[in-house]
């Protein structure tokens, strides 16, 4: 089973839930798909055994074959190609903007002169390792790169279906989140009981309904705000899987990069029971 942990709003406790759920179960693989700001490794301290550079294909023009016909610019939906037409005996040229390229392959496939081939551009790295008995995979997007979904997909290429897979997703509701949660069988939404938490929870719920992924909610720091999240979940028949009250000790453990279940083993039992509830719902 693949369980993703997502949230809408950032900083609600996704990584805490993903890491501690992983440490409470057997035969687990944890994938940190927040490739812009991965944090799970801070808590798991995995021994990294393999580093695989992540690439996306971008076009490269063969200037000898290219006759500046402009077809590539015309077919590129992302405005990643500009053509400087020939003038005064100058042949003209084709400019590529790699940051805008989505790697769809249209230009290379449709070039009438066969003058475009694809070359790899590195956008980040996938790192694989182990932390105690947990298998660990994460991606790190290079600074200055804008497109995280291809890297997220490359992290997910390492999913081991023989294990319970836990995916730590990025915050938000747009393409990176969708790339991260799309393959999951179940999604845990982590929120906090404030108007911000509720607003972003509602958006995340809409995303999951659109993707048709079953989900439940964890209310973290459950006593810091109001009861509007509770009401929303009740009205919309959304299961509340767990409530974690605010506890300065938990916040301190988090700040030091220490997994909650390591110091407060009673939470192991809570996470296991929650996992049983999810498994039951899914069967």
């Amino acid at each position: 089973m693949i369980i993703s942990v997502a949230s809408g709003k950032g900083g609600t406790g996704k990584t805490t839930i993903a890491v501690n759920l992983a440490l409470s179960l057997d035969n687990v693989q944890l994938l940190d798909c927040d490739v812009e700001e991965p944090n799970a490794h801070i808590f798991l301290k995995p021994e990294i055994k393999e580093k695989i550079p992540a690439f996306i294909p971008i076009p490269k023009i063969d200037e000898v074959k290219c006759n500046i016909c402009g077809k590539c610019r015309e077919v590129c939906a992302y405005h990643a190609i500009a053509v400087i037409p020939s003038s005064d005996g100058d042949k003209g040229s084709v400019l590529i903007f790699p940051h805008l390229c989505h790697g769809c392959g249209a230009c290379s496939l449709l070039c009438p002169q066969n003058a475009i081939r694809e070359v790899n551009k590195e956008i980040g790295v996938v790192e694989i390792g182990t932390a105690q008995s947990t298998q660990f995979v994460h991606g790190r997007l290079n600074v200055g790169e804008i497109m995280s979904p291809p890297l997220i997909r490359q992290v997910e290429d390492h999913i081991d279906p023989a294990k319970t897979v836990i995916i730590d997703a990025p915050p938000g509701t747009s393409c990176p989140v969708i790339a991260a949660v799309k393959k999951s069988d179940y999604c845990i939404l982590v929120t906090e009981p404030t108007p911000f938490g509720l607003n972003d929870l509602v958006l995340a719920v809409e995303v999951l309904r659109k993707l048709k992924i079953p989900f439940g909610v964890i209310i973290n720091r459950s006593d810091i705000g109001d009861d509007e999240v509770d009401k929303y979940c009740q009205d919309n028949k959304i299961r509340i899987l767990l409530r974690i009250p605010f506890d300065r000790e938990i916040a301190l453990l988090y700040s030091r990069g220490i997994p909650l279940v390591q110091e407060k083993p009673e939470y192991k039992e809570k996470f296991r029971r929650m996992f049983d509830v999810i498994t039951k719902e899914m069967s």
Binding site: S7, G8, K9, G10, G11, T12, T15, D34, E36, E37, N39, I42, V75, A77, Y78, H102, G103, C104, G105, A106, L109, L110, L141, V143, G144, E145, I146, M147, S148, P170, P171, G172, T173, S174, C175, P176, V177, I178, K182, T194, P195, F196, N199, D200, L203, E206, V207, K210, L211, I224, G225, D226, R248, A251, L252, Y254, S255, R256, G257
Partner: protein, 283 residues
């Protein structure tokens, strides 16, 4: 006119609370919420929408099954696995490259423009506010960010405003870079946790990459003084200005629940700290 963006790398460190406080403190300014897929600033600024616009961006493939001969060329060539084995387009996976429509031998696929969201020009008691709502599971958040920043800048120039104050998204990817380009100063809000430090470092690298000056704010600094000192040491070693610290205080989430800015309802100490930060950034 100066443009200032509040970012953090890690989510949930207090970007929106700080931006709203600046909105309450600064004079002659316009606010922009660039966290377009999980926007929260409106929950504190209570805007009255004056103008509303559709955000059209990107396209989605539409396959006409009456014309389709099921040759399978589109399935074979689509890099985004957006066409299923039974020739249905998955609009969520489709990235709108249009390759399928260009190579379909019988012209069964057309590209339809998406309405990817909405954006608004609003009035608030603190001044004008430009904000947006990205459609559920839509792409192109970077383009929407660029659009609303452009609109805000034009209003600021027209009305001779002194500041554009931008609430940025978490992460380091596409919408963050769109929020950051060309601003005069990035306020990086972090928290004294190892994750907060890790993520702040990455977002500062992005700022450096795009040559944007950084001013650092450490929120909830007393949660872990050791890590706060680590962050401050990191700033000093990298010549990064520290704009100030804000204490961890339960009066802050209470202002969220009330829907007011921290300046209007947090403890005296918090208000003073934020005012000092504001002085350092805006003078």
């Amino acid at each position: 006119m100066k443009q200032i963006v509040v970012i953090s790398g890690k989510g949930g460190t207090g970007k929106t609370i700080l931006t709203a406080s600046f909105a309450a403190l600064a004079k002659n300014k316009i606010m922009v919420d660039c966290d377009v897929d999980a926007a929260d600033l409106h929950l504190l600024l209570h805007p009255t929408v004056k103008e509303r616009y559709e955000f059209k961006s990107g396209k989605t493939a539409k396959l006409n099954k009456k014309i389709c001969t099921q040759c399978g060329k589109c399935i074979a060539l689509c890099r985004f696995d957006a066409i299923s084995d039974n020739f249905a387009v998955d609009p969520i996976s489709c990235e709108g490259c249009g390759l399928c429509s260009l190579i379909c031998p019988v012209g069964a696929i057309t590209m339809k423009e998406n309405t990817a969201g909405e954006w608004f020009i609003s009035d608030t008691k603190y001044g004008a506010f430009v904000h947006a709502k990205l459609g559920i599971a839509e792409e192109n958040s970077g383009k929407l960010v660029a659009k609303i920043r452009q609109v805000a800048k034009e209003i600021a120039e027209r009305d001779r405003l002194d500041y554009v104050i931008v609430d940025g998204p978490p992460g380091i990817g596409c919408p963050v870079i769109a929020s950051l380009s060309g601003v005069d100063c990035a306020v990086v809000v972090t928290e004294p946790t190892l994750s907060g430090l890790h993520d702040a470092k990455r977002v500062i690298e992005v700022c450096t990459h795009f040559k944007v000056p950084v001013k650092m704010v450490i929120n909830k600094y007393d949660l872990n003084i050791d890590v706060t000192q680590k962050i401050e040491a990191y700033c000093r070693s990298g010549n990064i200005e520290i704009a100030g610290r804000i204490i961890f205080d339960s009066s802050v989430p209470r202002t969220l629940v009330k829907g007011i800015t921290a300046i209007e309802g947090a403890s005296e100490e918090v208000i003073k700290e934020i005012k000092d930060i504001w002085e350092k950034i805006f003078t």
